[in-house]
């Protein structure tokens, strides 16, 4: 008898008691959800490699190539791009998965990932040179020809014309990461729900009116400015209309397909009725306003498909429980045309539909988010515009759906406040206790003031925030909803700045002078001298990356606009400007990936080099260049220096100063709107991806993972318990110094069983909230389970863990990432 058969034979209670929640979920969910959940082709990557069987879909690149080849030379780019997207939507094969009620997929088959050819020639070349079989042999020559056609035509080509040779070289080689808009080529698109839900027919009507008025104005205008002003606007409006008309046609293809299946093939009368209802819904949305929960979900899903066929979208900034509450209320509570259980099943089905979606993005991005096809962080809970608790029964439905679907994407970010109702908080805890690693918990009483502080969002607008990706909040309003991924200006391995300060701006791995010269550190007389050099190194990367991002956005605005995305912003339809040109009230951020060891490095240098004078800077340089090989005793001295997360003011006050100086840096550069660039220390899986960083003064060797969060202590270095961690992190100003920062914690699953466990956790959360910390997320899976999953991965395929900002199936990650998660300290509460 196999392990699988044995566990399935347990009843629900036995599985629950054994904390085998993945089998419990399988028993608990409906036959429909069970089928759909098991039918998923996961688009997560292991390292940077897609799982067996997943392949590239050539439909998108084929139609884009054909349309761009045939386009008249005089046709504006935005029109050609719209026509290409329309061709994909009109011709790409579509399918309806058995038993599903939510349709639409950005690809022609469920195991395929769409290929966006317009993004980056490096991505295109990487895909055709991939040796894992993601392009079928019979299609490889055609794929190579199409990739060759796009060389010189991608967004990356466009922006590189405005980068110096040094910048192009540095971003590829010299820097540990850096700007990503052209290389990573993905965005986080937050919609404006009130605009979107009016229906596409209504948007088209507005566009038609604007076009008519502009044409009249152009002819009748008496000044040159007025005569020419509408030319680019007309192109933009016409391109928008091409896209959203095509989206309506795409949805109606599903309407026809559902009806064909119902009338000709389906033998089950219940399913036949369901297909007919699906046909009606797909005819109605997105053309018209949704009126029921099912229609709203289908509407949203179509919008996501549209985004994802136009461009890589890495995130899914959505707030379902808030946006869909009126539909749920009407269907479930008032008209009673749907039961609560049916609503949970529908929410779960949507989660599974989202989980199937991946993207053919850059290898570095795949590795940084290994184990995840997203990250799709859906926002739940929080305050409404008036400041009342926005949690509702639909919030609870999503949390309950998560328990039974157990997908690693989407995950939830839960907006916590003192007003959060207990029954919802209980369900949040249950998700965490089931080992999902989500929801991550966000402090509304910190993040709302944070949005107002940095960007001047009005209070009501700030209260409307959704997660842009893993962490950063931004409003979903007319002038607040962002169309792009801000942190394309980011730095991977931000802790390298310490190393650059030691070696005067030289990357010791490449030997290149990658950053500004800040002086020979051997001659620094005080720690302040060294600290100032570190700050200059931080600023160098910051100024470089933000400058490139300013240019990247302007290139998109002028030469590479996205008409589909543009059409879903009221401000864009109103002004006739594309989504990159028509500026929202920015909610910028500059991500400091793998930054949190910085203070530990600085503290060790301060103590051992400048105060105790046990080692000279030259000795430290030698040890680092040797990767600590042969310097084990010295390395352990640096490891034993004061470490973050132990409520030790020696090191904590260094972190406080670092964060204060990050804030100064943030205000020193403004984007084109005049907005500052606050930093956001976090890590996703970069703590493993950038393990190639050279040795650091906290005792880390090249190859070792970095700390796993934005403000998380190093694995095992937080030795004084969870309260000490919170006290250290609570010393930071989470409103005025950074945009957000990520705290990972591991809790003991055995300790948190039953009512006592819930009480312990709520007390912990109260302390966390009162200390003014903006984020925390939990892993609650024991080491025995994780070890067992390493040994017999086939038996633990559904085991989900939290990485940093997203969750992933444990067995789909690299061994190093698994080991780093196991090594995190398990904190006992109480």
């Amino acid at each position: 008898m196999t392990q699988t058969e044995w566990t399935i034979e347990k009843d629900e209670k036995e599985l629950w008691d054994a904390r085998e929640f993945w089998w419990w979920a399988e028993k608990k969910r409906s036959a429909r959800l069970n089928y759909l959940r098991k039918a998923v082709w996961s688009k997560a990557t292991k390292g940077s490699t897609w799982l067996p069987g997943v392949q590239l879909d050539l439909e998108n690149i084929r139609w884009f190539t054909r349309v761009f080849k045939e386009a008249p030379a005089s046709e504006p780019f935005v029109i050609t791009r719209a026509k290409a997207l329309a061709a994909v939507l009109d011709h790409m094969p579509i399918f309806i998965t058995d038993l599903s009620r939510i349709v639409g997929y950005p690809g022609s088959a469920p195991h395929l990932i769409t290929w966006i050819p317009t993004a980056s020639y490096i991505i295109n070349e990487d895909l055709v040179n991939d040796r894992t079989g993601i392009i079928p042999d019979e299609d490889l020559e055609e794929a190579k020809e199409m990739a060759a056609f796009w060389k010189g035509r991608t967004f990356q080509d466009a922006v590189e014309q405005y980068q110096s040779r040094k910048e192009r070289t540095q971003k590829l080689m010299g820097r540990p990461g850096g700007t990503g808009r052209d290389l990573l080529a993905f965005d986080y698109v937050t919609p404006q729900p009130e605009w979107m839900y009016q229906g596409f027919d209504s948007i088209i009507k507005t566009i038609d009116e604007n076009v008519a008025a502009a044409q009249k104005n152009m002819v009748e205008a008496r000044t040159a400015e007025e005569q020419v002003a509408n030319i680019p606007k007309l192109d933009t409006w016409n391109a928008m209309k091409i896209c959203i008309e095509a989206m309506i046609r795409y949805a109606r293809r599903f309407s026809r397909l559902a009806r064909i299946i119902a009338e000709n093939f389906e033998t089950d009368p219940e399913r036949r009725q369901e297909l007919i209802r699906m046909s009606e819904i797909c005819y109605k949305v997105p053309a018209q306003r949704p009126e029921h929960l099912w229609e709203a979900i289908q509407f949203d899903h179509f919008v996501q498909i549209a985004y994802r066929l136009e461009w890589h979208n890495a995130a899914w900034p959505w707030r379902q429980d808030y946006w869909h509450w009126p539909f749920y209320k009407k269907d479930v509570l008032e008209d009673k045309i749907m039961t609560r259980d049916e609503a949970i099943e529908l929410c779960g089905e949507w989660m599974i539909a989202a989980y199937t979606i991946g993207k053919s993005w850059a290898r570095g991005g795949r590795e940084a988010l290994q184990g995840s096809p997203g990250p799709y962080v859906w926002t739940l809970g929080g305050l409404d515009e008036e400041g009342n608790d926005a949690c509702n029964d639909l919030t609870d439905c999503y949390l309950e759906a998560a328990l039974i679907t157990r997908v690693s994407d989407p995950t939830f970010g839960f907006r916590y406040s003192t007003k959060t109702r207990p029954q919802t908080l209980r369900r949040v805890f249950e998700c965490i206790r089931h080992g999902l690693g989500y929801p991550s918990i966000r402090n509304d009483d910190v993040l709302i003031p944070n949005l107002m502080h940095w960007f001047g969002h009005p209070l009501e607008e700030a209260r409307r925030w959704v997660h842009q990706a893993c962490m950063a909040p931004a409003p979903d309003t007319k002038w607040g909803a962002p169309p792009i991924r801000y942190p394309n200006a980011s730095v991977y391995g931000a802790s390298l700045a310490v190393n650059l300060a030691i070696f005067d701006g030289v990357n010791t791995q490449s030997g290149l002078q990658v950053s500004r010269k800040t002086g020979d550190s051997s001659k620094f007389e005080t720690f302040e001298d060294f600290y100032n050099a570190w700050y200059e190194q931080m600023k160098d990367a910051f100024e470089w990356a933000t400058s490139l991002e300013h240019r990247n956005r302007q290139v998109e605005a002028l030469y590479y606009p996205k008409p589909m995305t543009t059409s879903l912003y009221e401000r864009c339809v109103e002004t006739g400007q594309n989504s990159a040109l028509c500026k929202e009230r920015s909610s910028l951020w500059y991500t400091l990936f793998s930054f949190s060891e910085t203070g530990d490095c600085l503290a060790a240098i301060k103590k051992l080099v400048y105060e105790d004078k046990k080692y000279t800077m030259d000795q430290l340089k030698e040890a680092l260049l040797a990767n600590w090989e042969g310097y084990e005793v010295m390395r352990m001295d640096f490891v034993r220096a004061p470490k973050w997360g132990n409520d030790d003011d020696y090191v904590d006050q260094i972190y406080v100063k670092v964060y204060e100086d990050l804030a100064k840096m943030s205000w020193s550069v403004r984007d084109i709107n005049g907005q500052p660039w606050p930093t956001l220390p976090e890590s996703v899986a970069t703590f493993v991806l950038v393990a190639s960083l050279p040795a650091l003064p906290n005792g880390r060797r090249m190859g070792d993972p970095l700390y796993d969060g934005g403000c998380s202590p190093g694995p095992g270095l937080d030795k004084k318990g969870p309260t000490a961690v919170l006290k250290s992190v609570g010393k930071l100003d989470h409103v005025g110094t950074v945009r957000a920062t990520l705290l990972n914690q591991r809790l003991s699953p055995t300790q948190l069983t039953g009512e006592k466990g819930y009480k312990l956790w709520t007390e912990y959360m109260k302390t966390w909230h009162d200390l003014g910390i903006d984020h925390v997320q939990f892993n609650m899976v024991d080491n025995e389970t994780l070890y067992a999953a390493q040994k017999e991965p086939e038996k633990y395929s559904e085991l989900v863990v939290r990485i940093a900002g997203y969750s992933a199936h444990f067995v789909e990650m690299s061994r190093k990432t698994q080991d780093a998660i196991i090594a995190r300290s398990v904190q006992g509460l109480g």
Binding site: N627, Y787, D819
Partner: protein, 64 residues
């Protein structure tokens, strides 16, 4: 130092350093140049760690 898999003997530097997930422990994974097997090495003694620790994640306590 001796490989626990194939018996290859050589200086610790000849085993390629891979990683150690816990800075506060002297152990780390290295790769044998002959058989490419992973060996958990104690860097204070520059020898392979005891058999019962091989394949384990440094610092992880199975009792938790």
């Amino acid at each position: 130092m001796k490989c626990i898999h194939c018996g290859y003997e050589g200086p610790v530097e000849s085993f390629r350093y891979l990683y150690n997930v816990r800075l506060d422990e002297p152990t780390g994974n290295r790769e044998c140049p002959k058989c490419f097997g992973w060996v958990l090495v104690d860097h204070t003694t520059e020898e392979a760690a005891p058999d019962e620790l091989q394949g384990r994640v440094p610092g992880a306590d199975l009792r938790k």
